[in-house]
Structures are given as C-alpha cells and as structure tokens.
Symmetry: C2
C-alpha cells in the first residue's frame, strides 16, 4: 500500500541531479566550474570591484573509463561571505542573497551548493571554504551536506588573523568528472564570459597544468544593477498579497506609489479610478475578490510607464558587437538595444546583434550566441526561445539564405531571467520576452537586408 513521504529540497536535487545540470561526468565539470565562476563574478560586481578569478582543476586520481576525481578550486576578490552564513550559503539548497529584485547571475539559491553536493556524493570529500569580508578575521570551514535535512554539517571551523585585510572567497572541493570531454565547452564558456565581462581577469589552470589567462581589457565597470520595486504590469495575486502584507502604507494611493516601479501620484490616482477602488482604502482591508480585480486591472491599464533601464545592466551595443568582431572580423555588423519591457513584474532588456561574412562559418544555419545576465548559454540551443524565433523568421524576406555566413548574438538582462531549467541552459518561451527578442532580431535583420541589397547592387554594377 502507499507510503506518503516528504523530501527536502537537497534530497530533491540529489535524486534529480539531471535537473540541476549534473547528468554526466563531463557535464558535471562544466556545471561546477560555471556555478562557482558566476558566484565570484556576482560577488565582485556587487561591490563595484573588477573581478579577479582564479580557477584551478587538478586531477587527484583516475576512476576508470575516462572519469577521474578532480579537485576544483576557485578564488575571487569579491564581497566574501559573512562567517555566520558560510555554512548555509554552501551547505543548504534554497539559501542565498540573490532573492531580491535585482539583476544578478545567481537566482535560485542552489548552484554553488549543488556543485558541492555533487562532489560529496561522488567523492565523499568535505568542501573547504575560506572567506573574509575584509574585516579583521578570515574564516575557514570544512563542511559536508546533510542531504536528507538540507542543512550543512560543520566538520571544522577556524578563525584566522586577516592582517592584510584580504577580502574574497576560496571554494575548494573534489568531484568525479571527465574534464577532457568537458574541455571544449569549459574553454568556450570562459572565453565568452571574458568577452561580455571585459573588466574581469580570469585565470584557469587545467589538469595538465596549462595556463589560460583572460586578461581584462578595461578596469571601467558598467554602472551596477540596482535593486528595484516590482513593475505593476504582470504582477500576480500571490505577489500582490505579499506586497499588501508587508506594506506600511495606510491607504491605497500611498501603497501604489511606494510599492511599484515608476508609479507616481497621478498615475496611481488614474489607475485606482480605472480599477474602481477608492484611494483612501486600507490595502490590508481589501477583500480577496478585490485583490484579484486589482491584479486583473493592472494587466489592462495602459498608462503605467515602462520600466526604467537604470536598474538593469545591459551590455550595450558596442560590447555585444565586440565579441563577434574579435572572433570573426565580419564584413558587416549591426546591433540594437531595445527599450526596457516587463514580464510578471520583472523589468528586462533585450539586445541583439547580427553579422555577415568574414570568418563566420557557413554551416547551413545561423550561428547563434546567447547570453543572459552576462552569462554565456552554451547548451540546448534548439530549445531556446531565441533559436525558435530565428527559425520562425522568413529570412528570404531579408535576402538571407541558409548557406550564408550569418551570426546572431542575443543578450537578455533582467531582475529574473525566465530560465526553463535549473541548470540555466536556455530561456523559456515567455510571451513578453519572445516578443522583444523577435522585434530586436527583425530590426537588425532589416539592417542586414540593406547591406545585402547594396552588395547585390554592387555585384550587378560590376558585371556590366
């Protein structure tokens, strides 16, 4: 007969590690490296410091059939983790500092912990964390994860003098994997990461002792993303109830102005009139059906201002083109940064670039580069919303044919990227986001069309 049980989130991701991007030994190496590098980039950027990241992957011993036990060590000059939070940050799933409404690479609260968990189940070796927030102490932990209870087990804890006021984090742990199969993707990831984060220094020493240095091209950092308020468009009933629960506002007018992004008094007044709710009502006294009504009206009121781009950190057209130019020296390149838009309360910006010719390979299909919050997405291209949009476009309208050497780059930045997978492989088909990607690609496709028309014209001229 049936046995009903509940399991912890760590147990869920342990049992379903394919879902977190740890399906096989080569994928595990890729996922572990990218999760730690993304944590380090977030950590340095959050204090406006150009990131210095050192990655070392050492082979400890062979396990057979291409698989070995490796030790991965990633060091950064970021914020560091406060001592009391180190065990949970690395030993508990669904714990972190990125649950705010702010653009960052991390979003789920489980990437770093998942990598350590995978290391633990394949090698049983505890994780070694050293960190300081730049104060007078450096903290050193050896941890393992109690997977069934989703909590860290502190095996050792030391506190050391921090005479040099070092600030940063070192994460070191062992895992079983297949680096040599993962290598092309790992190197491609680091290379593309360096391109869209040109202010970062990334150093990688691979198991054969080879040194890869991606030296920063600039020390100037883009304006950092800022925490923002939810945009009223697309807020759902649950979000609305939480906002009502946590507000100090005593009336609906103040609630609308204080709670939402770019809602001033006059817009708030007009909206409340449109929704038929008195501005004097106490938000906490709205009935459930009134809350539903308010949420539905928020979707159809068209006077809300679009989101302000300043809370986000897009690449900018120059940086988006830079990677393609460096790689392919195309004959033609065009880029666009769309105005900010919003889905489910989250502001986002789509940027796209298209390039033709040069050394772009002719592979019978457009070469697509995808980025989200400055992270390169290298897997499952065919499931990504950008790919589907490219496939849905009739390229002949733009004088482009499948045998032409064409490359497209798409970057989406947002307070929350709608990833379809926990492994952050590709972006889901959210209507507002796919619409923006479609418009961005059509815009640059029209620029390509003008170029191809001029080329065609010149060729005709030459033949005469």
């Amino acid at each position: 007969s049936q046995i009903f049980e509940h399991i912890s989130p760590a147990d869920f991701f342990y049992r379903n590690r394919d879902i977190a991007g740890f399906s096989n030994p080569s994928r595990a190496i890729y996922s572990a490296i990218r999760e730690l590098v993304e944590n380090s980039l977030d950590a340095a950027e959050s204090i406006g410091v150009p990131p210095d990241i050192f990655i070392r992957l050492t082979r400890i011993k062979e396990s057979g059939r291409g698989v070995s036990v490796y030790e991965l060590r990633v060091q950064d000059n970021g914020t560091g983790v406060p001592s009391q939070h180190i065990p949970s940050a690395f030993g508990q799933v669904l714990f972190g500092s990125k649950y705010r409404l702010k653009q960052s690479r991390g979003t789920f609260g489980l990437g770093g912990t998942m990598a350590i968990l995978y290391g633990q189940i394949t090698t049983h070796h505890p994780a070694h964390i050293i960190s300081s927030t730049g104060d007078s102490r450096i903290y050193e932990y050896r941890l393992s994860i109690d997977i069934r209870r989703n909590r860290p087990i502190i095996l050792q804890r030391k506190s050391l003098d921090n005479d040099h006021k070092w600030r940063g984090t070192i994460v070191e742990f062992r895992l079983e994997g297949d680096y040599f199969r993962a290598m092309p993707k790992v190197l491609e990831y680091l290379k593309q990461t360096a391109v869209v984060n040109p202010y970062a220094n990334i150093t990688f020493i691979d198991p054969r002792g080879r040194l890869y240095m991606f030296t920063r091209a600039t020390t100037s950092m883009p304006p950092p993303p800022k925490e923002t308020k939810p945009h009223p468009y697309g807020v759902d009933v649950e979000m609305m109830q939480r906002l009502i629960q946590s507000t100090d506002a005593r009336d609906m007018l103040t609630f609308m102005v204080e709670t939402f992004h770019r809602v001033g008094k006059s817009i708030a007044k007009n909206f409340l009139k449109f929704a038929g709710i008195s501005p004097k009502r106490d938000p906490k006294k709205l009935r459930p059906d009134e809350v539903v009504h308010l949420v539905q009206k928020m979707k159809t009121f068209d006077e809300f201002l679009p989101p302000d781009a300043s809370c986000l950190s897009p690449l900018g057209e120059e940086l988006l083109k830079a990677g393609i130019i460096k790689e392919y020296q195309p004959e033609f390149i065009a880029a666009i940064q769309r105005k900010p838009s919003t889905y489910s309360g989250h502001p986002f910006i789509v940027e796209a670039a298209i390039a033709y010719g040069g050394n772009i390979p002719r592979k019978g299909d457009i070469v697509l580069f995808r980025f989200a919050n400055r992270i390169p997405l290298l897997y499952d291209e065919a499931s990504d919303v950008s790919w589907k949009i490219i496939k849905s476009i009739n390229w002949r309208r733009y004088k482009a044919t499948p045998d032409m050497p064409i490359a497209i780059a798409v970057h989406v930045c947002s307070t929350k990227i709608p990833y379809k997978t926990v492994g952050k492989e590709f972006i889901a088909d959210r209507p507002e986001v796919s619409r923006e990607i479609l418009f961005a690609i059509r815009y640059v496709a029209r620029k390509l069309q003008k170029f191809l028309t001029r080329v065609e014209y010149k060729q005709k001229e030459l033949r005469r």
Copy 2:
C-alpha cells in the same frame, strides 16, 4: 549590503514556474491537464484497475488577449487519497507516494500541487478535492496553498457517507490559460496516451462542449511494476550511506544480499573478496573511506547480474508498433525491446520501433515519437537524448536519406526517468541510457536497411 534568506520549495517553484512547465497561458493548460491525468493513471494502475478518467475544461470568463479563466475537473477511479494526506498531497510541494524505487509516471512529488498553485496565483480560487479509498467515507476539501511555508491551508473539510463504496479522486480548480492555443498539443497528448495505455478510458469535454472519447481497446492490464531494491551498479556514496544506516543486517554478506537487486550469497562473497572487505564486518562500522572504496568497486565489478525485467512495465513490441500502424499504415515496421540495463542503481528498459512509408509525412527529417513510463513527451524534441542520438547516426549507412518517410518511436521505462526538466519535457543525456537508446535504434535501423535493400533490388529487377 547583502540580505541572506532561505525560501520554501513552493516559493522556489512559484518564482520559477517556467521550470515546472507553466511558462505561458497555453503551456499552463497543457501542463495542468497532463499532471492530473498522469496522477489518475498512476492511481488506477497501482491497484490493477483499468483507468476511467473524465476531464472537463470549462470556460468561466475571458481575461483578454486570448486568455481566459477556466475550470479544470479531472475524475478517476483510482486508489483515492487517504483523508489525512489529502491536504499535503495537493497543497505541499515535495510530498507524495512515489518516492519509492518503483516505476510510475509521477516522480517528483510536485506536479499536481504545481497545477493547483498556478491556478491559485492566477485566479485566487481555492482547489476542490473529493476523494475516497473505497471505505465508508468520502472526504471533500477546499484548500489553498501557503506558498511561503509550503503547506496547505484547509478552508473547508467535509466527510460524507459513501453508501455506494465509490473509490477514486476528483480534482477541481480554476486557472488562467489559453486553451485554443494549447488544443493541438492537448489532443495529441490524450491521443498518444490512449495508444500506449490501451486499457484506459479517457473522456475529455473541451470548453466548446465538444466530447472526445478515447475508448479502451482492452481490459487486460500489463503486469504491474513492482517496487524493487537498488541495483548495485552505479550506486553513489550518499545512497550507500543511507542503505547502511537503515539496514538490520549485522554483517556485510547479509547486507549485500538483503539490500541489492539480484545479489545472492555467492555473488556477494565474490564481490566482497574483489573489494577486499571481510564478509563478517558490521556495515555500520565501515569507515568513510571504506564506504567510498566499496562504491567504486561496485562500479567496476562485472559479475553483478543485470536487472530483472519483472520489476518494470515496458510496452512490448506489439504495443509500441500499434500506434504507428494505426496512425500511418506503414509499408514496413520493426521493433525491439532491449534487455534491462541500469544507471545510478535504477533499472531501465529501452524499446524502439522504426517504420517506413505509408502515410508517414516526408518532412525532411525523421518523425520521432518519445515516451517515458507510458507518458508521451511532446515538447523540446531537439534537446532530447533520443533526438541527439538520431542526429548522430549516419543514416546513409542504412540506405536511408532525409527525404524518406521514416518514423521512430522510443519508449524508456525505469524506476526513475532521468528527466532534464521538472516539466518532464525531455530526457537527459545519461551515458548508460543514451547507450541503450543508440543500440536499440541501430538494431531497428538495420532491419530498415534490409527492407530498403529489398525494395531497391525489386526496383532494379523491374527495370530490366
């Protein structure tokens, strides 16, 4: 400065509902229907009863832009849910009866709850559950979900007389969606579900009042899947520690025999000798490094017997061919059921069929049907391991060209399907599983090759 928080699993899937298959209004309708239908199929099969499933989707009101509020009602004649578990079964994420080592459609403990959660955040309407296990009472609940605490809120609970000894479950809730966009996929899902579960009656009334009846072709049920012990090959350190923790065995020989699938005394003796561990040792007294050593030796010991097929419930070659035959009347069809294999302790069986000609469309690509534990997988084909394998095969070797009308069906059954996504869209690239799929497809491809060779020969004969 940084704010560290933890979130509940319900909050995680609320914030990341794209991950659970609820990205957009049409996808939400599809996901809600399939999650409830799969629960109903599991519930009836678990007591060996031919499933009778009634699905009704009613439009309540329009919300604008193609999106409406619908009411979804799914009724079955399955086991029913014991009264004390109804709130958690439907109102708590990561709770369920399918965490055992047994083949079933459900595996994560969140599908039904996720559908209800999505309904709640889009309509704020509580869920209505009626269920009885066939005893003297029927229980009726109205529930909502406390998302931040991942627990059910019981709004109403009634207990009614069950004079007719009814047994089953009715789940009724409202959600916002776009049925007309979802319709082709919903109907395809129900049709393919009926094909691979020919003993099930499925009735669907759509929002326009149209009745779709998929009447059972037989009342004979396949032998039900059985709960089994983990297979020793591919067990990891965490699993090993849990098995050691929960065993009653006082010595390693008894532990090996009682814990693992198809390990008898002589195999256990040989393995322990191979691993250099005395059969008399107390499992609970093994040192951590000895546990790691044992796990590694389990991967390389080649005398373990392959899994027994009897714990699994494959379709069988006839049933796998039946759907293709009915749909396309092909000129040629061949199928294979591979012997059981195992990954990470989970036994699995791969079945494949290939068909040529008849009404199979020539779409420049092979038509692929994918199934896992008798569930049709209709999304993200290009990310699925079966698709990748088909793409990696050099079909010219088998005399097949891309313009030929070829269809392939692949079914994987296992105590755990390695889904890549929580929405169960496609299967991850697990080495042991992809190997089996590759061999199965090659086998039927060789049969196709023989057929195409005969066809080619006959055509040459005719020309003379």
